[in-house]
Protein backbone atom coordinates (compact mmCIF):
# COMPACT_ATOMS: atom_id res chain seq x y z
CA UNK A 1 0.00 0.00 0.00
CA UNK A 2 1.33 3.40 -0.95
CA UNK A 3 1.99 6.01 1.68
CA UNK A 4 0.85 9.56 1.02
CA UNK A 5 2.72 12.63 2.20
CA UNK A 6 -0.18 13.77 4.32
CA UNK A 7 -0.28 10.39 6.05
CA UNK A 8 3.31 10.74 7.26
CA UNK A 9 2.45 11.51 10.86
CA UNK A 10 4.02 8.33 12.13
CA UNK A 11 7.16 6.48 11.19
CA UNK A 12 6.24 4.66 7.97
CA UNK A 13 6.83 0.96 8.37
CA UNK A 14 8.54 1.22 5.01
CA UNK A 15 11.38 3.12 6.67
CA UNK A 16 12.13 0.10 8.78
CA UNK A 17 10.68 -2.53 6.39
CA UNK A 18 8.94 -3.70 9.57
CA UNK A 19 6.12 -5.62 7.87
CA UNK A 20 8.49 -7.60 5.71
CA UNK A 21 10.87 -8.25 8.59
CA UNK A 22 8.06 -9.51 10.82
CA UNK A 23 6.87 -11.86 8.08
CA UNK A 24 10.39 -13.14 7.44
CA UNK A 25 10.99 -13.71 11.16
CA UNK A 26 7.68 -15.58 11.54
CA UNK A 27 8.41 -17.78 8.50
CA UNK A 28 11.96 -18.49 9.65
CA UNK A 29 10.74 -19.41 13.13
CA UNK A 30 8.13 -21.80 11.69
CA UNK A 31 10.69 -23.42 9.37
CA UNK A 32 13.29 -23.76 12.12
CA UNK A 33 10.77 -25.18 14.58
CA UNK A 34 9.53 -27.79 12.10
CA UNK A 35 12.90 -28.91 10.71
CA UNK A 36 13.55 -31.48 13.46
CA UNK A 37 10.21 -33.20 12.81
CA UNK A 38 11.14 -36.46 11.15
CA UNK A 39 14.83 -35.58 10.89
CA UNK A 40 17.50 -37.93 12.19
CA UNK A 41 20.11 -37.00 14.79
CA UNK A 42 22.83 -36.17 12.25
CA UNK A 43 21.07 -33.25 10.47
CA UNK A 44 19.92 -31.91 13.83
CA UNK A 45 23.49 -32.01 15.13
CA UNK A 46 24.61 -30.08 12.04
CA UNK A 47 21.81 -27.56 12.60
CA UNK A 48 22.85 -27.06 16.26
CA UNK A 49 26.36 -26.40 15.01
CA UNK A 50 24.97 -23.93 12.48
CA UNK A 51 23.04 -22.19 15.27
CA UNK A 52 26.22 -21.51 17.24
CA UNK A 53 27.89 -20.02 14.17
CA UNK A 54 24.78 -17.95 13.40
CA UNK A 55 24.80 -16.32 16.84
CA UNK A 56 28.52 -15.45 16.74
CA UNK A 57 28.24 -14.20 13.15
CA UNK A 58 25.29 -11.98 14.08
CA UNK A 59 27.53 -10.25 16.63
CA UNK A 60 30.24 -9.87 13.99
CA UNK A 61 27.69 -8.25 11.67
CA UNK A 62 26.76 -5.72 14.35
CA UNK A 63 30.42 -4.87 14.80
CA UNK A 64 31.66 -5.00 11.22
CA UNK A 65 28.57 -4.42 9.11
CA UNK A 66 26.97 -1.76 11.28
CA UNK A 67 29.77 -0.03 13.17
CA UNK A 68 32.37 -0.63 10.45
CA UNK A 69 34.96 -2.05 12.87
CA UNK A 70 36.89 -5.29 12.50
CA UNK A 71 37.50 -8.26 14.75
CA UNK A 72 39.65 -11.22 13.79
CA UNK A 73 39.60 -12.62 17.30
CA UNK A 74 36.00 -13.27 18.20
CA UNK A 75 36.68 -16.93 18.95
CA UNK A 76 38.25 -15.56 22.15
CA UNK A 77 34.87 -14.24 23.32
CA UNK A 78 33.17 -17.51 22.30
CA UNK A 79 35.81 -19.22 24.44
CA UNK A 80 35.47 -16.67 27.22
CA UNK A 81 31.77 -17.51 27.54
CA UNK A 82 32.46 -21.24 27.39
CA UNK A 83 35.25 -21.21 29.95
CA UNK A 84 33.50 -18.76 32.29
CA UNK A 85 30.43 -21.00 32.27
CA UNK A 86 32.60 -24.07 32.74
CA UNK A 87 34.55 -22.63 35.66
CA UNK A 88 31.47 -21.21 37.41
CA UNK A 89 29.57 -24.50 37.20
CA UNK A 90 32.36 -27.03 37.80
CA UNK A 91 34.40 -25.14 40.38
CA UNK A 92 31.85 -22.85 42.01
CA UNK A 93 28.85 -25.10 41.46
CA UNK A 94 26.57 -22.33 40.23
CA UNK A 95 23.44 -23.07 38.23
CA UNK A 96 24.30 -23.37 34.50
CA UNK A 97 21.69 -20.70 33.65
CA UNK A 98 23.17 -18.29 36.18
CA UNK A 99 26.63 -19.16 34.89
CA UNK A 100 25.51 -18.35 31.32
CA UNK A 101 24.24 -14.97 32.50
CA UNK A 102 27.33 -14.17 34.58
CA UNK A 103 29.64 -15.34 31.77
CA UNK A 104 27.94 -12.87 29.41
CA UNK A 105 28.43 -10.04 31.92
CA UNK A 106 32.05 -11.08 32.49
CA UNK A 107 32.77 -11.25 28.76
CA UNK A 108 31.03 -7.91 28.22
CA UNK A 109 33.19 -6.39 30.97
CA UNK A 110 36.38 -7.74 29.42
CA UNK A 111 35.30 -6.44 25.99
CA UNK A 112 34.57 -3.01 27.48
CA UNK A 113 38.05 -2.73 28.97
CA UNK A 114 39.77 -3.99 25.82
CA UNK A 115 37.55 -1.93 23.52
CA UNK A 116 38.27 1.35 25.26
CA UNK A 117 41.96 0.97 24.45
CA UNK A 118 41.68 -0.94 21.19
CA UNK A 119 39.43 1.48 19.31
CA UNK A 120 42.01 4.22 19.53
CA UNK A 121 43.56 2.20 16.70
CA UNK A 122 42.35 1.84 13.14
CA UNK A 123 42.58 -0.35 10.06
CA UNK A 124 45.19 -3.05 9.80
CA UNK A 125 46.68 -2.32 13.21
CA UNK A 126 43.26 -2.78 14.81
CA UNK A 127 42.79 -6.04 12.88
CA UNK A 128 46.20 -7.21 14.08
CA UNK A 129 45.39 -6.41 17.70
CA UNK A 130 42.13 -8.40 17.57
CA UNK A 131 44.04 -11.32 16.11
CA UNK A 132 46.61 -11.05 18.88
CA UNK A 133 43.75 -11.03 21.36
CA UNK A 134 42.75 -14.47 20.15
CA UNK A 135 46.32 -15.74 20.50
CA UNK A 136 46.58 -14.34 24.03
CA UNK A 137 43.31 -16.02 24.99
CA UNK A 138 44.44 -19.36 23.54
CA UNK A 139 47.73 -19.32 25.43
CA UNK A 140 46.06 -18.07 28.60
CA UNK A 141 43.52 -20.88 28.80
CA UNK A 142 46.22 -23.38 27.79
CA UNK A 143 48.45 -22.17 30.61
CA UNK A 144 45.97 -21.84 33.47
CA UNK A 145 45.86 -25.57 34.04
CA UNK A 146 44.42 -25.34 37.54
CA UNK A 147 41.46 -23.28 36.41
CA UNK A 148 40.80 -24.40 32.84
CA UNK A 149 42.37 -27.83 32.61
CA UNK A 150 45.02 -26.47 30.22
CA UNK A 151 45.55 -28.17 26.88
CA UNK A 152 43.66 -31.23 28.14
CA UNK A 153 40.51 -29.14 28.40
CA UNK A 154 37.72 -28.89 30.91
CA UNK A 155 35.42 -31.86 31.42
CA UNK A 156 32.14 -32.75 33.11
CA UNK A 157 30.53 -29.37 32.58
CA UNK A 158 26.93 -29.78 33.74
CA UNK A 159 24.19 -29.47 31.11
CA UNK A 160 21.55 -26.76 30.98
CA UNK A 161 18.15 -28.02 32.01
CA UNK A 162 14.62 -26.71 31.74
CA UNK A 163 11.27 -28.35 32.49
CA UNK A 164 12.72 -31.83 32.78
CA UNK A 165 14.79 -31.53 29.58
CA UNK A 166 18.54 -31.10 29.63
CA UNK A 167 21.07 -30.06 27.03
CA UNK A 168 22.14 -33.69 26.84
CA UNK A 169 19.00 -34.00 24.75
CA UNK A 170 19.77 -33.08 21.13
CA UNK A 171 16.34 -31.60 20.42
CA UNK A 172 16.51 -29.46 23.56
CA UNK A 173 19.78 -28.03 22.29
CA UNK A 174 18.39 -27.49 18.85
CA UNK A 175 15.44 -25.49 20.11
CA UNK A 176 17.51 -23.63 22.69
CA UNK A 177 20.13 -22.50 20.17
CA UNK A 178 17.66 -21.48 17.49
CA UNK A 179 15.21 -19.75 19.83
CA UNK A 180 18.12 -17.69 21.15
CA UNK A 181 19.28 -17.03 17.58
CA UNK A 182 15.78 -15.78 16.64
CA UNK A 183 15.55 -13.63 19.79
CA UNK A 184 18.96 -12.10 19.07
CA UNK A 185 17.87 -11.53 15.47
CA UNK A 186 14.81 -9.58 16.67
CA UNK A 187 17.02 -7.63 19.09
CA UNK A 188 19.51 -6.85 16.32
CA UNK A 189 16.82 -5.77 13.85
CA UNK A 190 15.21 -3.51 16.46
CA UNK A 191 18.61 -2.04 17.16
CA UNK A 192 19.37 -1.48 13.47
CA UNK A 193 16.34 0.78 13.10
CA UNK A 194 16.78 2.73 16.28
CA UNK A 195 18.70 5.79 17.49
CA UNK A 196 21.62 3.59 18.51
CA UNK A 197 21.54 1.62 15.25
CA UNK A 198 21.52 4.76 13.14
CA UNK A 199 24.44 6.09 15.18
CA UNK A 200 26.39 2.91 14.40
CA UNK A 201 25.56 3.05 10.70
CA UNK A 202 26.37 6.76 10.48
CA UNK A 203 29.99 6.17 11.49
CA UNK A 204 30.55 3.15 9.23
CA UNK A 205 32.98 4.61 6.71
CA UNK A 206 32.97 1.35 4.73
CA UNK A 207 29.25 1.57 3.98
CA UNK A 208 28.51 5.21 3.22
CA UNK A 209 28.94 6.65 6.73
CA UNK A 210 31.27 9.40 7.91
CA UNK A 211 32.93 9.67 11.30
CA UNK A 212 33.30 13.44 10.99
CA UNK A 213 29.65 13.94 10.08
CA UNK A 214 28.55 11.62 12.89
CA UNK A 215 30.62 13.54 15.42
CA UNK A 216 29.35 17.00 14.49
CA UNK A 217 25.83 15.60 14.92
CA UNK A 218 26.67 14.72 18.52
CA UNK A 219 27.55 11.05 18.23
CA UNK A 220 30.29 9.83 20.56
CA UNK A 221 31.91 7.48 18.06
CA UNK A 222 34.28 5.92 20.58
CA UNK A 223 31.39 5.01 22.88
CA UNK A 224 29.43 3.45 20.03
CA UNK A 225 32.41 1.49 18.73
CA UNK A 226 32.98 0.06 22.20
CA UNK A 227 29.29 -0.74 22.66
CA UNK A 228 29.13 -2.55 19.32
CA UNK A 229 32.22 -4.52 20.33
CA UNK A 230 30.76 -5.38 23.73
CA UNK A 231 27.45 -6.46 22.25
CA UNK A 232 29.14 -8.66 19.66
CA UNK A 233 31.31 -10.18 22.42
CA UNK A 234 28.20 -10.90 24.50
CA UNK A 235 26.55 -12.66 21.54
CA UNK A 236 29.68 -14.84 21.20
CA UNK A 237 29.72 -15.46 24.94
CA UNK A 238 26.11 -16.66 24.98
CA UNK A 239 26.90 -19.07 22.13
CA UNK A 240 30.04 -20.18 23.99
CA UNK A 241 28.19 -20.88 27.24
CA UNK A 242 25.50 -22.94 25.50
CA UNK A 243 28.23 -24.76 23.58
CA UNK A 244 30.07 -25.63 26.81
CA UNK A 245 26.93 -27.00 28.48
CA UNK A 246 26.02 -28.86 25.27
CA UNK A 247 29.34 -30.58 24.58
CA UNK A 248 30.20 -30.72 28.31
CA UNK A 249 33.87 -30.75 27.39
CA UNK A 250 35.86 -27.83 26.06
CA UNK A 251 39.49 -27.45 25.05
CA UNK A 252 41.53 -24.42 23.89
CA UNK A 253 41.90 -25.51 20.26
CA UNK A 254 38.18 -24.96 19.62
CA UNK A 255 38.54 -21.26 20.33
CA UNK A 256 41.47 -20.49 18.08
CA UNK A 257 42.03 -18.25 15.05
CA UNK A 258 40.43 -20.53 12.39
CA UNK A 259 37.05 -20.10 14.12
CA UNK A 260 37.54 -16.32 14.26
CA UNK A 261 38.32 -16.27 10.54
CA UNK A 262 35.40 -18.55 9.72
CA UNK A 263 32.78 -16.34 11.38
CA UNK A 264 34.16 -13.29 9.55
CA UNK A 265 33.89 -15.20 6.25
CA UNK A 266 30.33 -16.19 7.18
CA UNK A 267 29.48 -12.55 7.83
CA UNK A 268 31.00 -11.39 4.53
CA UNK A 269 29.41 -14.20 2.55
CA UNK A 270 26.00 -13.80 4.15
CA UNK A 271 26.12 -10.02 3.84
CA UNK A 272 26.93 -7.46 6.49
CA UNK A 273 24.12 -5.06 5.69
CA UNK A 274 21.65 -7.01 7.83
CA UNK A 275 21.65 -9.45 10.77
CA UNK A 276 19.91 -11.85 8.38
CA UNK A 277 23.30 -12.21 6.73
CA UNK A 278 24.37 -14.36 9.70
CA UNK A 279 21.68 -16.94 8.95
CA UNK A 280 22.57 -16.98 5.26
CA UNK A 281 26.35 -17.06 5.78
CA UNK A 282 26.34 -19.74 8.46
CA UNK A 283 23.72 -21.73 6.56
CA UNK A 284 25.69 -21.65 3.31
CA UNK A 285 29.08 -22.49 4.77
CA UNK A 286 27.92 -25.26 7.08
CA UNK A 287 25.58 -26.59 4.37
CA UNK A 288 28.40 -26.51 1.84
CA UNK A 289 30.76 -28.25 4.23
CA UNK A 290 28.30 -31.08 4.79
CA UNK A 291 27.42 -31.33 1.12
CA UNK A 292 31.06 -31.66 0.12
CA UNK A 293 31.68 -34.15 2.87
CA UNK A 294 28.90 -36.29 1.39
CA UNK A 295 29.53 -35.72 -2.31
CA UNK A 296 33.31 -35.58 -2.69
CA UNK A 297 33.94 -39.27 -1.87
CA UNK A 298 31.41 -40.20 -4.56
CA UNK A 299 32.90 -37.78 -7.13
CA UNK A 300 36.54 -38.57 -6.42
CA UNK A 301 35.96 -42.20 -5.68
CA UNK A 302 37.50 -43.08 -2.38
CA UNK A 303 39.13 -41.13 0.37
CA UNK A 304 38.96 -37.42 -0.39
CA UNK A 305 41.13 -35.84 2.29
CA UNK A 306 42.01 -32.29 1.31
CA UNK A 307 39.87 -32.29 -1.88
CA UNK A 308 36.92 -31.20 0.22
CA UNK A 309 38.81 -28.26 1.63
CA UNK A 310 40.09 -27.22 -1.80
CA UNK A 311 36.58 -27.32 -3.32
CA UNK A 312 35.26 -25.51 -0.25
CA UNK A 313 37.82 -22.75 -0.64
CA UNK A 314 37.24 -22.34 -4.39
CA UNK A 315 33.48 -22.08 -3.93
CA UNK A 316 33.90 -19.44 -1.23
CA UNK A 317 36.29 -17.36 -3.35
CA UNK A 318 33.95 -17.51 -6.36
CA UNK A 319 30.95 -16.61 -4.21
CA UNK A 320 32.76 -13.60 -2.75
CA UNK A 321 33.94 -12.47 -6.20
CA UNK A 322 30.45 -12.52 -7.66
CA UNK A 323 28.59 -11.44 -4.55
CA UNK A 324 30.79 -8.91 -2.78
CA UNK A 325 27.79 -7.63 -0.81
CA UNK A 326 26.96 -11.17 0.27
CA UNK A 327 23.89 -13.34 -0.19
CA UNK A 328 21.67 -10.74 1.45
CA UNK A 329 22.17 -8.52 -1.62
CA UNK A 330 20.17 -11.06 -3.68
CA UNK A 331 17.30 -10.71 -1.20
CA UNK A 332 17.57 -6.91 -1.22
CA UNK A 333 17.41 -6.86 -5.03
CA UNK A 334 14.41 -9.17 -5.05
CA UNK A 335 12.46 -7.07 -2.55
CA UNK A 336 10.78 -4.01 -4.16
CA UNK A 337 12.80 -0.89 -3.46
CA UNK A 338 11.47 1.85 -1.25
CA UNK A 339 10.02 4.52 -3.48
CA UNK A 340 10.16 8.24 -2.86
CA UNK A 341 6.94 9.43 -1.31
CA UNK A 342 6.64 12.13 -3.94
CA UNK A 343 5.49 9.54 -6.44
CA UNK A 344 3.08 7.91 -4.07
CA UNK A 345 0.79 10.65 -2.92
Amino acid sequence: MLVGVKALKEIPRKVTSANLQSLAIALSAIVLLTIPLGAGPYPITVMVDMGFYTIITMGIILLMGFAGQISLGHAAFFGCGAYASGVLTTQYHLSPWLALFLAAIFTGGIATIIGRFMFRLRGLILAGVTLALNLVFFHLVSSLVGLTGGAMGMMNIPPLSLGGFTSQNLLFNYYLVWIIAILLLVFSLNLANSRAGRALRSMNVHAGGSEDAAQVLGIDIMKYKVWAFVLSAVYASIAGSIYAHYTRIIEPGTFFVPLSALVVIMAILGGMASPWGAFLGAGLIIGLRELLRESMPVLVGGVTGSYELIAYGIILVVALLFLPQGLISIVHKAVPKKRAIVNES
Binding site: N190, S194, Q215, A340
Partner: protein, 283 residues
Protein backbone atom coordinates in the same frame (compact mmCIF):
# COMPACT_ATOMS: atom_id res chain seq x y z
CA UNK B 1 45.12 14.66 11.91
CA UNK B 2 43.60 12.75 14.77
CA UNK B 3 44.07 13.38 18.43
CA UNK B 4 42.97 11.64 21.55
CA UNK B 5 40.57 13.95 23.18
CA UNK B 6 40.83 14.12 26.90
CA UNK B 7 37.57 14.28 28.73
CA UNK B 8 38.21 17.16 30.99
CA UNK B 9 36.11 19.83 32.55
CA UNK B 10 36.34 22.50 29.94
CA UNK B 11 37.66 25.81 31.05
CA UNK B 12 34.98 28.18 32.17
CA UNK B 13 35.14 31.88 31.45
CA UNK B 14 36.44 33.93 34.40
CA UNK B 15 33.71 35.38 36.60
CA UNK B 16 34.21 38.97 35.49
CA UNK B 17 33.94 38.07 31.83
CA UNK B 18 31.02 35.75 32.52
CA UNK B 19 29.10 38.61 34.07
CA UNK B 20 29.66 40.70 30.96
CA UNK B 21 28.52 37.86 28.72
CA UNK B 22 24.93 38.81 28.23
CA UNK B 23 22.59 38.10 25.38
CA UNK B 24 24.10 41.03 23.53
CA UNK B 25 27.68 39.82 23.66
CA UNK B 26 29.16 37.52 21.00
CA UNK B 27 28.03 33.91 20.84
CA UNK B 28 31.39 32.83 19.42
CA UNK B 29 34.76 34.38 20.10
CA UNK B 30 37.91 33.35 18.26
CA UNK B 31 41.08 34.81 19.76
CA UNK B 32 44.53 34.67 18.20
CA UNK B 33 44.01 31.24 16.66
CA UNK B 34 47.00 29.86 14.79
CA UNK B 35 47.34 26.52 13.11
CA UNK B 36 50.10 24.80 11.20
CA UNK B 37 50.37 21.50 9.39
CA UNK B 38 54.03 20.73 9.90
CA UNK B 39 55.94 23.79 8.72
CA UNK B 40 52.99 25.12 6.73
CA UNK B 41 51.17 27.85 8.66
CA UNK B 42 47.49 27.66 7.74
CA UNK B 43 46.12 30.22 10.20
CA UNK B 44 48.02 33.11 11.75
CA UNK B 45 46.63 34.73 14.89
CA UNK B 46 43.08 35.02 13.60
CA UNK B 47 40.61 36.79 15.89
CA UNK B 48 36.97 37.65 15.42
CA UNK B 49 33.64 37.28 17.16
CA UNK B 50 30.15 36.44 16.00
CA UNK B 51 27.26 38.25 17.71
CA UNK B 52 24.24 36.15 18.59
CA UNK B 53 21.73 35.95 15.73
CA UNK B 54 24.14 37.34 13.12
CA UNK B 55 25.19 35.96 9.77
CA UNK B 56 28.95 36.15 9.49
CA UNK B 57 30.50 35.36 6.13
CA UNK B 58 34.13 34.45 5.87
CA UNK B 59 35.63 34.78 2.42
CA UNK B 60 39.03 34.13 1.00
CA UNK B 61 40.69 32.33 -1.87
CA UNK B 62 41.31 28.58 -1.83
CA UNK B 63 43.88 27.70 0.79
CA UNK B 64 43.15 30.77 2.91
CA UNK B 65 42.43 28.57 5.94
CA UNK B 66 38.64 28.97 6.03
CA UNK B 67 37.72 25.28 6.26
CA UNK B 68 40.50 24.67 8.78
CA UNK B 69 39.03 27.37 11.00
CA UNK B 70 35.57 25.75 10.84
CA UNK B 71 37.06 22.40 11.77
CA UNK B 72 38.84 24.00 14.73
CA UNK B 73 35.55 25.46 15.95
CA UNK B 74 33.67 22.17 15.56
CA UNK B 75 36.51 20.27 17.22
CA UNK B 76 37.42 18.09 14.25
CA UNK B 77 40.93 19.51 14.39
CA UNK B 78 42.81 20.10 17.64
CA UNK B 79 43.45 23.71 18.57
CA UNK B 80 47.20 24.38 18.57
CA UNK B 81 47.29 28.00 19.61
CA UNK B 82 44.78 30.62 20.65
CA UNK B 83 41.33 30.38 22.20
CA UNK B 84 37.83 29.67 20.98
CA UNK B 85 34.92 30.52 23.27
CA UNK B 86 31.31 29.53 22.71
CA UNK B 87 28.86 31.16 25.09
CA UNK B 88 30.73 30.89 28.37
CA UNK B 89 32.74 27.85 27.53
CA UNK B 90 36.24 27.54 26.18
CA UNK B 91 36.42 24.98 23.39
CA UNK B 92 39.74 23.44 24.10
CA UNK B 93 40.47 19.71 24.05
CA UNK B 94 36.76 18.99 23.83
CA UNK B 95 35.67 16.15 21.54
CA UNK B 96 33.51 17.14 18.53
CA UNK B 97 30.40 15.33 19.81
CA UNK B 98 30.58 17.34 23.03
CA UNK B 99 30.96 20.57 21.10
CA UNK B 100 27.89 19.56 19.12
CA UNK B 101 26.00 19.01 22.37
CA UNK B 102 26.92 22.58 23.37
CA UNK B 103 25.07 23.89 20.30
CA UNK B 104 27.49 23.98 17.36
CA UNK B 105 27.18 21.89 14.23
CA UNK B 106 28.65 21.95 10.76
CA UNK B 107 27.49 21.39 7.19
CA UNK B 108 30.45 20.14 5.20
CA UNK B 109 31.41 21.36 1.77
CA UNK B 110 30.99 17.82 0.42
CA UNK B 111 27.86 17.39 2.61
CA UNK B 112 28.76 13.85 3.75
CA UNK B 113 25.24 12.51 3.79
CA UNK B 114 25.03 8.90 4.92
CA UNK B 115 24.41 6.97 1.72
CA UNK B 116 23.55 3.83 3.69
CA UNK B 117 20.35 5.51 4.97
CA UNK B 118 17.28 7.16 3.53
CA UNK B 119 16.83 10.93 3.60
CA UNK B 120 14.60 10.81 6.70
CA UNK B 121 17.03 8.52 8.51
CA UNK B 122 19.83 10.99 7.74
CA UNK B 123 17.85 13.77 9.38
CA UNK B 124 16.89 11.45 12.25
CA UNK B 125 20.61 10.97 12.96
CA UNK B 126 20.71 14.75 13.40
CA UNK B 127 18.21 14.31 16.26
CA UNK B 128 20.64 12.05 18.13
CA UNK B 129 21.10 14.46 21.01
CA UNK B 130 17.37 14.93 21.47
CA UNK B 131 16.91 11.43 22.95
CA UNK B 132 18.72 9.13 25.33
CA UNK B 133 17.59 5.68 24.19
CA UNK B 134 20.56 3.32 24.32
CA UNK B 135 21.32 -0.15 23.03
CA UNK B 136 19.23 -2.22 25.45
CA UNK B 137 16.06 -0.15 25.30
CA UNK B 138 16.37 0.07 21.50
CA UNK B 139 17.00 -3.64 21.06
CA UNK B 140 14.11 -4.59 23.35
CA UNK B 141 11.95 -1.91 21.71
CA UNK B 142 10.58 -0.77 25.04
CA UNK B 143 7.70 1.76 25.05
CA UNK B 144 10.11 4.57 25.98
CA UNK B 145 12.27 3.71 22.95
CA UNK B 146 9.22 3.72 20.67
CA UNK B 147 8.13 7.10 22.04
CA UNK B 148 11.64 8.49 21.47
CA UNK B 149 11.61 7.18 17.90
CA UNK B 150 8.27 8.80 17.22
CA UNK B 151 9.36 12.18 18.57
CA UNK B 152 12.68 11.98 16.66
CA UNK B 153 10.73 11.20 13.51
CA UNK B 154 8.41 14.17 14.00
CA UNK B 155 11.32 16.58 14.53
CA UNK B 156 13.12 15.17 11.49
CA UNK B 157 10.01 15.54 9.32
CA UNK B 158 9.55 19.12 10.49
CA UNK B 159 13.13 19.96 9.49
CA UNK B 160 12.69 18.26 6.11
CA UNK B 161 9.50 20.23 5.72
CA UNK B 162 11.36 23.46 6.48
CA UNK B 163 13.76 22.84 3.60
CA UNK B 164 10.86 21.71 1.39
CA UNK B 165 11.95 18.10 0.95
CA UNK B 166 9.42 16.19 3.03
CA UNK B 167 8.29 14.44 -0.14
CA UNK B 168 11.76 12.91 -0.55
CA UNK B 169 11.78 11.42 2.95
CA UNK B 170 12.10 7.82 1.85
CA UNK B 171 14.45 8.43 -1.05
CA UNK B 172 18.12 7.54 -0.95
CA UNK B 173 20.26 10.70 -0.76
CA UNK B 174 22.21 9.62 -3.85
CA UNK B 175 19.03 9.91 -5.94
CA UNK B 176 18.72 13.64 -5.14
CA UNK B 177 20.25 16.56 -7.00
CA UNK B 178 23.32 18.27 -5.49
CA UNK B 179 21.19 21.19 -4.38
CA UNK B 180 18.65 18.90 -2.71
CA UNK B 181 21.47 17.03 -0.98
CA UNK B 182 22.73 20.34 0.42
CA UNK B 183 19.25 21.02 1.77
CA UNK B 184 19.07 17.56 3.37
CA UNK B 185 22.46 18.27 4.94
CA UNK B 186 21.10 21.55 6.26
CA UNK B 187 17.96 19.85 7.61
CA UNK B 188 20.18 17.27 9.32
CA UNK B 189 22.27 20.03 10.88
CA UNK B 190 19.15 21.90 12.02
CA UNK B 191 17.81 18.71 13.60
CA UNK B 192 20.60 18.93 16.18
CA UNK B 193 18.97 22.08 17.55
CA UNK B 194 22.26 23.96 17.14
CA UNK B 195 22.51 27.62 18.07
CA UNK B 196 25.50 28.12 15.79
CA UNK B 197 25.58 26.70 12.28
CA UNK B 198 28.90 26.42 10.47
CA UNK B 199 28.25 26.24 6.74
CA UNK B 200 31.21 25.33 4.57
CA UNK B 201 30.66 26.61 1.02
CA UNK B 202 26.92 25.94 1.05
CA UNK B 203 26.42 27.69 -2.30
CA UNK B 204 28.99 25.74 -4.29
CA UNK B 205 27.43 23.79 -7.12
CA UNK B 206 23.95 25.28 -6.68
CA UNK B 207 21.78 26.50 -9.55
CA UNK B 208 20.41 30.07 -9.47
CA UNK B 209 16.99 29.12 -8.14
CA UNK B 210 18.61 26.89 -5.53
CA UNK B 211 20.78 29.81 -4.42
CA UNK B 212 17.64 31.95 -3.98
CA UNK B 213 15.97 29.17 -2.02
CA UNK B 214 18.99 28.77 0.25
CA UNK B 215 19.16 32.54 0.83
CA UNK B 216 15.51 32.60 1.92
CA UNK B 217 16.14 29.66 4.19
CA UNK B 218 19.18 31.29 5.78
CA UNK B 219 17.16 34.46 6.48
CA UNK B 220 14.42 32.31 8.00
CA UNK B 221 16.96 30.57 10.25
CA UNK B 222 18.31 33.95 11.32
CA UNK B 223 14.78 35.06 12.08
CA UNK B 224 14.47 31.99 14.33
CA UNK B 225 17.53 33.20 16.24
CA UNK B 226 20.14 30.85 14.82
CA UNK B 227 23.61 32.31 14.40
CA UNK B 228 25.30 31.38 11.14
CA UNK B 229 28.94 31.36 10.10
CA UNK B 230 29.33 30.84 6.37
CA UNK B 231 32.58 30.13 4.61
CA UNK B 232 32.43 30.91 0.89
CA UNK B 233 34.40 32.19 -2.03
CA UNK B 234 31.36 33.26 -4.14
CA UNK B 235 31.37 36.77 -2.76
CA UNK B 236 28.59 38.41 -4.80
CA UNK B 237 26.00 35.99 -3.43
CA UNK B 238 26.99 36.62 0.13
CA UNK B 239 27.19 40.35 0.20
CA UNK B 240 23.39 40.43 0.23
CA UNK B 241 22.94 38.18 3.24
CA UNK B 242 25.89 38.92 5.52
CA UNK B 243 25.73 41.15 8.59
CA UNK B 244 29.46 40.97 8.91
CA UNK B 245 32.24 39.84 6.55
CA UNK B 246 35.73 38.62 7.34
CA UNK B 247 38.39 38.19 4.69
CA UNK B 248 41.19 35.68 5.08
CA UNK B 249 44.26 35.55 2.91
CA UNK B 250 47.05 33.02 3.40
CA UNK B 251 45.77 32.33 6.90
CA UNK B 252 45.65 35.97 7.98
CA UNK B 253 42.63 38.12 8.57
CA UNK B 254 43.10 41.07 6.24
CA UNK B 255 39.74 42.77 6.67
CA UNK B 256 36.56 42.77 8.72
CA UNK B 257 33.44 44.87 8.35
CA UNK B 258 30.05 45.23 6.76
CA UNK B 259 29.59 43.97 3.19
CA UNK B 260 29.70 47.57 1.92
CA UNK B 261 32.97 48.28 3.72
CA UNK B 262 34.55 45.07 2.42
CA UNK B 263 33.51 45.83 -1.15
CA UNK B 264 35.43 49.11 -0.99
CA UNK B 265 38.46 47.76 0.83
CA UNK B 266 41.49 48.13 -1.45
CA UNK B 267 43.55 45.51 0.38
CA UNK B 268 40.77 42.96 -0.08
CA UNK B 269 40.39 43.76 -3.74
CA UNK B 270 44.13 43.48 -4.30
CA UNK B 271 44.72 40.37 -2.26
CA UNK B 272 41.58 38.42 -2.99
CA UNK B 273 40.67 39.50 -6.50
CA UNK B 274 43.97 40.60 -7.90
CA UNK B 275 42.63 44.02 -8.64
CA UNK B 276 39.21 43.00 -10.06
CA UNK B 277 35.90 44.04 -8.52
CA UNK B 278 34.05 41.94 -5.96
CA UNK B 279 30.85 41.98 -8.01
CA UNK B 280 32.51 40.47 -11.07
CA UNK B 281 34.44 37.84 -9.15
CA UNK B 282 31.94 35.05 -9.47
CA UNK B 283 31.93 34.84 -13.23
Amino acid sequence: MKVNFVRMKSAVMPKQERERDTLHTPLLKVRNVSMAFGVLAVLKRVSFSVPRGNILVMIGPNGAGKTTLLKLISGLLPLQEGEIWFKQQRLSRIAPHRISSLGITQLFQDIQLFSNMSVIENVMVGCHLRAKTGFMRSGLRLPSARADEQSIFEVAMSKLSLVGLEQKALANPSSLSWGQQKLVGLARALATGAELLLLDEPYSGLLTDEVDKLNKLIFELQRQGITILIVEHLTDILMGIANQVIVLDYGEKIAEGTPAEIQQNKQVIDAYLGGGSLESERG
